[in-house]
């Protein structure tokens, strides 16, 4: 973290003084600005102050994860139990978000819906990053016909809009939680592969890679020990920024009936069940799941944006 902060606010410090002096000077500057960067707590405090929106994003993502993990302890009702007597009930003390047409407690369903969204968002991101990184590294490092073939495949995948491709995949695979994850991961990995490939291409020509080859290091070790760690900064940014879109695509798929099937509560399907028929008579059925989607996507995007800002200047000063 130390190095991150040294790079952050100090893009203009490319003078010829020694780096050690630079660091101490910069730390002094930071102390004057009210940041105690010598401790981890001080660092977090500093980053929070500098990127308040990013911190809000981090907070929202944490809330999202917390809600998903502890859903059973936060809810008052079983999200699947129907109770016809409260069908379409308005929000009240007992049912803070009301109930849907089948008489299921909406609050509990929204809370449990976080689990679905979390599983899909993280699952698809992890899967997409995994394949994107492997393909990007292979394509960039090996070059030649491997690169040519992989890049044309990626061209084909990228020529289709994300949602259309995800819909086609979901329809082909059939509705299940895992298939939804795959359907969202497939349109996601090409862009990750592209970014990793381009970083790999420039890293491959660096003298430290030549030095590694001169000492007789194997290609596999060069790729995973020297190239991959240096692609992490753009990767983290891309993955975080992708969380929001994964949540959104899941909601869209579920809204269209191609996503996570019953009985898993899904925000997107909650919208589709209620939007057409009940939006006038029971608007809370649309408002609350919609707000949940908005807040989760908003938080993930804010975090992604802040990470991009934090990592970018460091890349500029590191070289």
């Amino acid at each position: 973290m130390m190095s991150t902060v040294n790079g952050v606010g100090n893009p203009s410090s490319k003078d010829d003084s020694s780096p050690e002096k630079k660091v101490s000077e910069f730390n002094e500057e930071l102390s004057l600005a009210g940041a105690n960067v010598h401790t981890k707590v001080g660092m977090i405090f500093f980053l929070t102050k500098r990127y308040p929106l990013g911190f809000l994003g981090l907070f929202l993502v944490f809330v999202f994860i917390f809600v998903a993990l502890f859903a059973p302890y936060l809810t008052t009702h079983d999200p699947l139990t129907t109770n016809p007597s409260i069908s379409l009930a308005a929000p009240s003390m007992g049912h803070p978000m009301g109930a849907d047409f089948m008489g299921r407690d909406l609050f509990s369903r929204v809370i449990f819906g976080a689990r679905t969204s979390l599983a899909v968002a993280f699952g698809a991101t992890i899967l997409g990053v995994f394949f994107g990184v492997l393909i990007g590294l292979a394509s960039g490092y090996l070059g030649g016909w491997v690169d040519l073939v992989l890049q044309r495949l990626i061209d084909i995948l990228q020529s289709l809009p994300t949602l259309i491709l995800a819909m086609a995949m979901a329809a082909a695979l059939g509705p299940s939680l895992f298939n939804t994850i795959i359907a969202i991961a497939i349109p996601k990995f090409p862009s990750i592969a592209r970014v990793i490939r381009s970083s790999t291409l420039s890293l491959r020509e660096m003298p430290f890679i030549e030095a590694a080859r001169a000492m007789g290091m194997s290609d596999l070790r060069i790729v995973f020990r020297h190239i991959f760690p240096n692609t992490l900064a753009p990767l983290i940014v891309l993955a975080t920024a992708g969380l929001g879109s994964a949540i959104l695509v899941e909601a869209s798929l579920s809204f269209l009936g191609l996503g996570v099937p019953e009985p898993h509560p899904s925000w997107g399907r909650m919208l589709s069940e209620s939007a057409s028929e009940y939006v006038r008579t029971a608007p809370w059925l649309v408002l609350f799941p919609g707000a949940a989607i908005t807040v989760a996507v908003f938080g993930a995007n804010l975090l992604g944006d802040a990470l991009r800002d934090i990592f970018d200047p460091r890349q500029r000063t590191a070289n």
């Binding site: 430290f208 030549e210 000492m215 290091m217 240096n230 000063t317």
Partner: protein
């Protein structure tokens, strides 16, 4: 070079041509003649300085010698073994004998690894020693190149340029090589730091009987560190001699021009400068005959047609120029 021992590095007629393909369907036959028939050898404990303009093939030569680029033809013998015939695993072993130091001290170190890890890496790759032994060896190497053991866990960006170059030298020394190739190892450093790094390299040479192939474009630096000097022009060696003979009695017009371009810190000294005209011709279609004939002040008809051979004009002083060939004199 009247030693009975086999030279540490012996290069003969080394060529590296890059073909410039312009797509899949129409292959062009044009080639870059980056290194075009170069021969030299370096005995144990000696330094060969290699000078020449940018783009004359110095760095390609350095990389071809340790197969970082695969040479087109020729022979490279390290400690008597022709390394161009070695299989991948044999080559791996052979790499312990020859290591390289790079020009740019910033991009030659992985920014995400600590200095200690960078220096330990060759040992890990070659499976040398236990963790503790490696750590001791790295501390020893740090001491040898003038870094403090306390800096073992620092990251490259926390060092200055000169210190980074010391890390690069320590990394090159880790495997105990006989030959170190310096690809302009001091060109990117401040002048005061240059002296420190060069003196370090000379100390190490004395202590460990290292051989250096030292590439530079700064003649003063080369004069300081080298035993012999080779001058390269467009992929060929045009003059090759021991240091004193080359600097006092340059034979090739190109060497003459290079030497007269060296600044002298005496404003009153009036010198007769022999500056060459024009630019270096493209290595894609190098001029026929003597490569230098397009810029040479002593151009003759023969220069346009015949490639001048490298001939010995004095004891150990080789030059490739028609003017110096005995036929004319």
């Amino acid at each position: 070079m009247v030693s009975n021992e086999a030279p540490v590095l012996d290069v003969s007629n080394l060529k590296k041509h890059f073909s410039i393909g312009k797509g899949i369907f129409h292959k062009s036959n044009e080639k870059v003649y980056a290194v075009d028939g170069v021969s030299f050898s370096i005995p144990k404990g000696q330094t060969l300085g290699l000078v020449g303009e940018s783009g004359c093939g110095k760095s390609t030569l350095a990389r071809a010698v340790i197969r970082l680029v695969e040479p087109t033809s020729g022979e490279v013998r390290i400690m008597g073994r022709n390394i161009l015939e070695l299989s991948k695993s044999e080559m791996r072993d052979c790499r312990r004998q020859a290591q390289i130091i790079f020009q740019d001290p910033f991009s030659s170190l992985n920014p995400r690894m600590t200095a200690g890890d960078i220096v330990a890496e060759p040992l890990i790759v070659h499976n040398i020693g236990s963790r503790i032994q490696r750590l001791e060896r790295v501390a020893e190497l740090f001491d040898l190149v003038g870094l403090r053991a306390a800096q073992l866990s620092s990251l490259p960006h926390q060092f200055s340029g000169g210190q980074r170059q010391r890390i690069g030298i320590a990394r090159a020394l880790a495997l105990g090589p006989q030959l170190i190739i310096g690809d302009e190892p001091v060109s990117a450093l401040d002048v005061s730091i240059q002296a420190q790094v060069i003196n370090l390299m000379m100390d190490l040479q004395e202590k460990k009987q290292l051989s250096y192939l030292f590439i530079a474009h700064d003649l003063a630096v080369v004069e300081h560190i080298s035993h012999r000097v080779a001058v390269m022009y467009l992929g060929r060696i045009v003059e090759h001699s021991d240091k004193n003979s080359l600097f006092s009695r340059p034979q090739h017009p190109y060497t003459e021009a290079l030497l007269s371009a060296v600044p002298v810190p005496n404003p009153k000294l009036k010198r007769h400068r022999r500056l060459v005209q024009g630019d270096v011709p493209s290595p894609i279609n190098p001029p026929a005959g003597c490569h230098f004939h397009t810029r040479c002040p002593y151009l003759t008809e023969q220069c346009r047609v015949d490639v001048p051979p490298l001939i010995e004009v004095e004891q150990g002083h080789w030059v490739a120029c028609h003017l110096r060939s005995p036929k004319l004199n």
